[in-house]
């Protein structure tokens, strides 16, 4: 007789200071049958030493916390800035409900549990401060998580979109693998919000992006957004060295443009797998049977990625395929 795992969010670990925030109240209602564990500081649960990330992924818990400064970070050099000044990102949620094999979060965090910061106002204030001081902001709100995938649980995308509406000097990117556009489809499409879908070949979704919606569902969601007037970015990132990668990624590009009109897409972003070397080492320890993680990457300046010639080859191949549908000015390589 084997035990079964508890469903995700069977337990809410709640900082005492977080309890009265409206976002926390909403989550109590949403998970009314969850057991509440009162805690003093989210870091005492989230940052514990020696946690088993893979095992925790089988039954993920929510940790509700009050974030202290900083509420905004300068953009990372692992992430593209799309030639936008004042590139920043924030993280109102740490960790993701999906379980991509190559996800850097597994190396960055010691826990698979998901932290939701419930004190939202300081995040908006911090973005406003930079916007006013520097005259503009390019803000990515869905790093270190997939915010749209979480929208039915806590509607932070909606809050950010509503924030952006009367701030023309702000440009917002919401990156996602989810097909959950319907959660925000009722909102008018602001011209300063970009919904960025990460697309992967069907077989990669199946084999390496556990729990994510399939390619066709992501494409349908992106198409729906385009039809409703939203700005959409399509990202093929990370491109992976899988068997027959040339044919597989060519087919992906063809499939994308079979579903979506090239001229209706804001821009295209492509990049090969790259990751902080320490994160990758941690992932290798926890994913002992992952061919992806154990690929013999080259390491430069603490970054693990494909050897330069391989990387160039992969980027060139995918880029050229996209260029047969879209102009070069709208294709960004990283």
């Amino acid at each position: 007789m084997t035990a079964t795992y508890l469903p995700n969010f069977s337990h809410l670990y709640v900082e005492r200071a977080a309890r009265t925030h409206p976002a926390a109240q909403r989550l109590f209602e949403r998970f009314s049958r969850a057991r509440i564990v009162a805690i003093d500081d989210y870091r005492s649960v989230f940052n514990r030493r020696g946690q088993a990330f893979r095992e925790q992924k089988r039954s993920v818990k929510l940790i509700l916390a009050v974030k202290q400064e900083p509420f905004i970070y300068p953009g990372s050099h692992y992430a593209p800035d799309f030639d936008q000044p004042n590139f920043c990102y924030n993280a109102m949620i740490l960790n993701c409900i999906y379980d991509c094999e190559y996800c850097y979060l597994q190396g960055m965090y010691s826990s698979a549990n998901i932290v939701v910061f419930v004190n939202t106002k300081p995040f908006f204030d911090a973005a406003d401060k930079i916007r006013k001081e520097r005259g503009s902001i390019y803000l990515c709100v869905s790093y270190d998580t997939d915010l749209l995938a979480f929208e039915n649980i806590i509607p932070y995308c909606r809050e950010w979109i509503e924030w952006a509406v009367d701030r023309p000097d702000a440009l917002l990117e919401i990156r996602t693998k989810s097909a959950n556009f319907r959660a925000i489809a009722d909102l008018p499409a602001p011209s300063n919000v970009i919904l960025a879908w990460t697309l992967s070949p069907h077989d990669v979704c199946l084999a390496h992006e556990q729990r994510t919606p399939r390619l066709a569902a992501r494409l349908a969601a992106a198409n729906d957004a385009i039809q409703r007037g939203w700005r959409v970015r399509l990202c093929i990132d990370p491109i992976l060295q899988i068997r027959d990668w040339r044919a597989v990624y060519s087919a992906l590009v063809d499939q994308i443009f079979g579903a979506v009109a090239a001229e209706s897409v804001d821009d295209f972003s492509i990049g090969v797998f790259r990751m902080n070397q320490d994160y990758l080492d941690r992932i290798r320890r926890s994913r002992e049977t992952s061919v992806l993680a154990h690929y013999p990457f080259a390491n430069t300046k603490k970054m693990s990625t494909y050897a330069a010639d391989v990387r160039e080859d992969m980027l060139d191949h995918v880029k050229h395929r996209i260029l047969s549908y879209a102009p070069a000015a709208r294709v960004y390589c990283h």
Partner: protein, 279 residues
């Protein structure tokens, strides 16, 4: 393996009988009972004793064994309120608070069970005032147990189950009552421990033995440094996952009689290239 830390012999007696455990004659200062896949340490009362006994029980266990093990603490507690259950009822602990240091510990709550849950606060002396805590239960071992156990296993492998013995009003509990109360719960406890254990089985190593042998032999022949051995082992995982069967075969193309560091480095580079190309 299931490792149990239990403070008192009367708490453990029924379990020792149930699993037919025998005293380890080598461990006289720290009483330990062993069976085929269960080891029980009788820790004595208090968090320091609990910590010492857990360290003593686990410190010589190979990492491979620990990675497939569950470490549990079973014992009595006093409950702050009646809604956790009656005397003799079991509770699963989801948070441990060290009363003295205010440190908190969290076993991962991953598996289904049908017992109530509560936090436990570990005191250094018996608690006999009902308002000593607001919520949860009190004991005298859990914090020391967790601190020690978490040095050896991850928190998803740590389980704490307490039995209510009193409601913090100084009620006396006889050893006979304790033994009988645990005897009544031995079967469900044994099932629960077995379920935790089976769910947490893990692969000990990703590399088959003959590949480990290949690495060892080649590392000696090529006089590899510790760093090179480490790199070779990492790459071997990729090699095996891609269907590679023998590193020794790749080694046959190398000059294994290296006489200098330069030669060793050159042959090592060839080996790495051959393994990397293997897809």
């Amino acid at each position: 393996m299931i490792f149990l830390a239990i403070a008192l012999r009367c708490e453990a007696a029924a379990f020792l009988r149930h699993s037919d455990l025998k005293a380890d004659q080598q461990s006289l200062r720290f009483p330990i009972y062993r069976g085929a896949d269960i080891t029980v340490a009788i820790t004595g009362v208090g968090k320091v004793r609990a910590a010492m006994a857990v360290v003593n029980m686990l410190r010589t266990e190979p990492i491979d064994v620990l990675r497939r093990s569950v470490v549990a603490n079973i014992g009595l507690c006093g409950a702050s309120r009646g809604d956790y259950g009656s005397r003799g009822d079991l509770i699963v602990i989801n948070q441990v608070i060290d009363h003295g240091s205010r440190r908190r510990y969290y076993p991962d709550m991953l598996l289904q069970h049908d017992l109530p849950e509560a936090e436990v606060e570990t005191f250094d002396t018996p608690v006999v005032t009902p308002d000593a805590i607001e919520n949860g239960v009190v004991d005298m071992e859990a914090a020391g147990f967790f601190e020690a156990a978490s040095r050896f296993v991850s928190p998803d492998r740590i389980l704490i189950v307490k039995m209510i013995s009193d409601f913090l009003a100084g009620e006396r509990v006889s050893p006979d009552w304790v033994e009988q109360a645990f005897a009544a719960k031995t079967e469900p406890l044994a099932v629960m421990l077995r379920q935790y254990h089976d769910c947490h089985r893990n692969q000990a190593s990703s590399l088959p033995g003959h590949i480990e042998d290949d690495i060892r032999v080649l590392a000696e022949q090529l006089r590899l440094t510790a760093t090179q051995r480490c790199e070779l082992r990492k790459l071997a995982v990729y090699f095996v996952l891609n269907g590679g069967e023998s590193i020794a075969e790749l080694g046959e193309t190398l000059d294994l009689h290296v006489t200098s560091k330069v030669a060793s480095k050159a042959e090592f580079a060839k080996l790495i290239a051959a393994m990397s190309a293997f897809t």
